[in-house]
């Protein structure tokens, strides 16, 4: 409970004694490049293979002749939009972006760079953490959209190349009973997960004490806690919104 209180106080501190707006613009753009652009490679790889594997495994489980193979497309679409793109991608990004945030802030803490900012009269929490959270809130939904497209395309490639179904059957499957709210649900999830990953990781890094070993521990804790928070939030959002 003490840690949770400290976490809430840190979030409040982000919005007190803020610096000039133009300072944040530059920092947010820099963070967007780090969070978004530098994550594209892993997003492409993970998403394409997730879609491909989903298509292959769904095809493998379709043993009844009464179920049309176009269902593979429908299942890949729904699993991708509802769960795989926002949740699995966020867990992957918790490992990449979360550990990066915790490691960066932890290193700044133990090398007294955060103290240097404070001595200058700069709100270090706001200056360092707010741009990271903002960048994650901007970039995560974009990455999830890219992930969704690539996952469905991965399913298409795997399904058609293995001969499980034809191109027309897959396209028919992904267009069947499409609910646009699912897209909104995925985007809401991505925003919530972005906030959780960035703020939890920032909290772990910002309050690092000790040396290099503790920075590593902070990064590990940040990833673990972010993943747990994602799974809790995932369940809660599914219960509330679906």
């Amino acid at each position: 409970m003490k840690n949770f209180g400290k976490y809430l106080l840190l979030l409040v501190a982000l919005f007190t004694r803020r610096e000039k707006f133009k300072v944040y613009i530059r920092l947010i753009v820099e963070e967007c490049i780090l969070v978004g652009y530098h994550s594209i490679f892993i997003v492409v790889i993970v998403s394409t293979f997730i879609g491909a594997v989903t298509a292959v495994q769904t095809g493998y489980n379709l043993v009844s002749d009464f179920i049309p193979v176009s269902v593979i497309g429908t299942i890949v679409r729904d699993m991708t939009i509802l769960e795989l793109a926002p949740t699995i991608l966020s867990i992957v990004l918790a490992g990449k972006v979360g550990s990066n945030i915790a490691g960066h802030l932890g290193t700044m803490r133990i090398t007294e760079q955060i103290d240097a900012l404070e001595v200058m009269g700069i709100n270090s929490a706001s200056f360092l953490i707010l741009p990271k959270i903002s960048a994650c809130l901007i970039m995560f939904p974009m990455l999830v959209i890219i992930s969704g497209f690539l996952s469905i395309y991965g399913g298409f490639l795997a399904g058609t190349l293995t001969g499980a179904l034809t191109e027309e059957e897959y396209i028919m499957g992904i267009r069947l009973d499409f609910q646009s709210f699912n897209i909104w649900f995925a985007l809401i999830k991505s925003i919530v997960f972005a906030f959780l990953i960035s703020s939890i990781s920032a909290y772990q890094g910002y309050f690092t004490k000790g040396g290099a070993l503790e920075v590593g521990q902070s990064s590990t804790t940040a990833v673990t806690n972010s993943c747990i928070a994602i799974l809790f939030a995932d369940f809660l959002l599914a219960k509330l919104l679906l």
């Binding site: 090398t111 103290d115 001595v119 200058m120």
Partner: protein, 250 residues
């Protein structure tokens, strides 16, 4: 002038500062000395506001820093420059960007004015040719000098230095000491240096306070420190066998 009265600080039932008072005057190099773990760095961090004292007050030219509201505290902090033990340079910025950082954040100066000021400060610490290098590309002594340049770039009224000579060879240490001393007198600022380096004490210690087990047990200048009768200070000063023999020989 920096004045602090009856400062007390406890960490987990351990008294780290016990009723510490003192006065650091303008235009002088004021030193806080003592063995490791005696509360020097805690006192320094308390004075700059990184640690909140349990009791006592700190006055910056009469302005109470401990009771100041957020705005006044921020104003006072913006008059403080600090050189950290590990230099605390921002590792993602070049030397020039590090020195320019306080000007970018705290002033309304134009780009050319900022550039002129940065060039002047880098020249003042003898690093005009290192402006485009990253902190990881320069030596420890150079990093300290960049730290000094960053600390004075905003025309700071108070300069704090936390163990400026740690990890440096004797010659570089003396160079850093002399730089701090020159800057103090040139700009008439209040400088506070935390050190356990006896060379620094004898080189620049115009006013020295000695900390022992969280208490201030001695104060004076470099002229009278060697004649002290305080046992703990004698033990600190003459810990080296050679110096002890030289003292006995005298």
């Amino acid at each position: 002038m920096i004045e602090f009265n009856n400062l007390n600080k406890t960490f987990e039932n351990k008294n780290v500062l016990i009723d510490v008072s003192g006065k650091f005057t303008k235009g002088k190099c004021n030193l806080i000395i003592g063995a490791s773990g005696t509360g020097k760095s805690v006192l320094l961090k308390t004075l700059v506001g990184l640690i909140q004292p349990d009791t006592g007050n700190i006055l910056y030219d009469g302005r109470d820093f401990t009771k100041a509201d957020t705005v006044l505290k921020q104003d006072i902090r913006r008059e403080i420059g600090m050189l950290f033990q590990g230099s605390a340079l921002f590792d993602s910025k070049t030397v020039e960007e590090n020195v320019m950082f306080p000007l970018d954040m705290l002033t309304q100066m134009s780009k050319s004015e900022k550039q002129d000021r940065v060039n002047y400060c880098l020249q003042r610490v003898g690093l005009e040719n290192a402006s485009k290098l990253m902190p990881s590309q320069i030596s420890g002594g150079m990093q300290k000098r960049v730290g000094i340049a960053r600390a004075i770039v905003n025309n700071s009224k108070y300069l704090y230095c936390d163990e400026p000579n740690s990890g440096l060879d004797p010659q570089t240490s003396i160079r850093i000491d002399n730089l701090i001393n020159d800057i103090t007198h040139e700009y008439n600022i209040t400088t506070v240096v935390v050190t356990h380096d006896m060379n620094s004490v004898l080189e620049i210690g115009e006013y020295v306070i000695f900390m022992f087990k969280g208490e201030k047990v001695w104060e004076g200048s470099k002229k009278d420190i060697l004649d002290t009768k305080v046992k703990s200070l004698q033990d600190f000063l003459f810990a080296n066998k050679l110096i002890r023999e030289m003292k006995d020989h005298q």
